[in-house]
């Protein structure tokens, strides 16, 4: 978190983000345009699944970002609890809904993809179930951080929750996998594996990079808003 240390002051973050945001937004839009071209037009349809395989280009990066987003929440929580960085609290508040959003996108695209693949919108697949539980962890974090009259208390409670959650996430994943193999032996087609073809891998990684930029963009924008909101609230208290 060395770079975050440099940014610890909201005011300095503010100046930096104002400078970065326009070019970041432009880069995201351009990359998204090219990424959609790659994913929707240039890449070949799957010989089994046809065009529905293209859902993967959104679904899989969303899953990665949802998981990484929770890791970010935990890191921000640690820096709030240990070093009391004021920016960490605001950033956590800003990024939790973004992570939850990517988690929701992953679940929805999973359901849409599941319909043609499995013949049902929802199947108790281990990955989807873990994602669903991650979504609830996000919801708990968001609800807890907003459940207090004093926002600082919500920030710190949510930080503790994020740290406990990140410890429990692998345990939840492991137990859901165990549960799934017990109840549904290998009924679900596994995605990916070692032999993924470059014609699919390149658009996938491109879309992952694009959505990562989108994630960063949204978090920075929302952090700016949180800084404004906190300033406004404090100004009201003081007047």
């Amino acid at each position: 978190m060395a770079d975050l240390h440099f940014l610890a002051s909201p005011a300095r973050f503010r100046r930096l983000s104002q400078r970065v945001l326009p070019s970041l937004a432009l880069a995201t839009v351009l990359m998204l345009a090219f990424g959609l071209y790659l994913a929707l037009i240039q890449s070949p349809p799957d010989y089994q699944q046809g065009d529905t395989v293209r859902i993967m280009f959104v679904h899989v990066p969303s899953a990665w970002l949802a998981m990484a987003g929770y890791g970010l929440l935990a890191a921000l929580g640690a820096s709030l609890l240990i070093w009391r960085h004021p920016l960490a609290a605001l950033m956590a508040r800003a990024s939790a809904p973004v992570g939850a959003g990517f988690c929701a996108v992953c679940l929805l695209t999973g359901a849409l993809w599941g319909r043609p693949m499995w013949g049902a919108y929802w199947v108790w697949d281990a990955r989807l179930t873990s994602m669903l539980l991650l979504f609830f962890l996000y919801l708990g974090h968001i609800a807890l951080s907003r459940a207090y009259d004093e926002p600082e208390r919500g920030d710190r409670a949510a930080a503790i929750l994020a740290l406990v959650g990140v410890i429990n996430l692998p345990i939840i994943k492991f137990s859901v996998d165990w549960w799934n193999t017990l109840h549904q032996p290998a009924s679900v087609a596994r995605l990916g594996g070692p032999s993924i073809h470059p014609s699919i891998l390149v658009p996938l990684l491109w879309m992952a990079a694009t959505l990562f930029l989108l994630f960063v963009l949204l978090v920075l924008l929302r952090t700016d808003t949180e800084i404004d909101r906190r300033r406004l609230e404090n100004a009201e208290v003081q007047s």
């Binding site: 004093e150 600082e152 906190r230 609230e233 404090n234 208290v237 003081q238």
Partner: protein, 210 residues
């Protein structure tokens, strides 16, 4: 010059993103009482809670015999007796049970009946020792909480509005107990609206911020 036992230097606390007080400095020698006064919201309770390490100050140090208390918070907490604006009594336990539990929570053995009754007698509560706290009046509860402070034998008393809900005889009993504590070399910091009525008390008025 008398050496200070408790020394607070440059203490600052914030609440809800706004400073409650800053650059707070004072020292207390053995047998001294500090009366905190000031309007509502001036930070009396916050200062008491900061002294008890319940609130983390944003700046400054609290020293006991020259050592920063934050370095060994458990030893410091062992020196404190606390009376908050809530009494800290369980309604379903009797007065005596409440005092016994409080002593055990402070890591001490259960006090014998004689010591316990002596502490209760200070506040004229001997007859109520085995009554559940929920049946007591507000003033009686306050007295029971004060008896807990007396029983603790702690060298530092932190009291938030100790005279609240006390009638005249109970106030006299409190003054006597506090006087005895100070005479034995103890310290006390008390937040109060009313005059504590003790000679030699030092006063610290916390300013209200506009």
């Amino acid at each position: 010059m008398v050496p200070f036992l408790l020394e607070v230097s440059d203490l600052a606390c914030r609440r809800g993103g706004r400073p409650v007080f800053e650059h707070m400095s004072f020292g207390l020698a053995a047998g001294e009482l500090l009366a905190l006064t000031g309007r509502n919201g001036s930070g009396k309770t916050t200062l008491l809670r900061a002294l008890a390490l319940l609130v983390r100050p944003v700046a400054g140090t609290i020293r006991w015999q020259g050592k920063d208390v934050a370095a060994d918070p458990e030893a410091w907490r062992g020196r404190l007796a606390w009376l908050g604006h809530l009494e800290g009594l369980k309604g379903d336990l009797t007065v005596a049970e409440n005092l016994e539990v409080a002593e055990r929570l402070r890591g001490r053995t259960v006090p014998d009946r004689v010591r316990l009754l002596a502490a209760l007698a200070t506040f004229d509560l001997s007859a109520l020792a085995d009554r559940p706290v929920r049946t007591l009046s507000a003033g009686q509860r306050r007295r029971a909480a004060l008896a807990r402070v007396v029983l603790s034998d702690a060298p530092v008393w932190l009291l938030d509005e100790p005279l609240n809900a006390l009638d005249a005889p109970a106030q006299a009993g409190f003054r006597a107990a506090l006087g005895k504590h100070l005479a034995a070399g103890g310290l006390a910091v008390a937040a109060t609206h009313a005059e504590l009525g003790l000679a030699g008390a030092r006063a610290l008025t916390l300013g209200s911020r506009e």
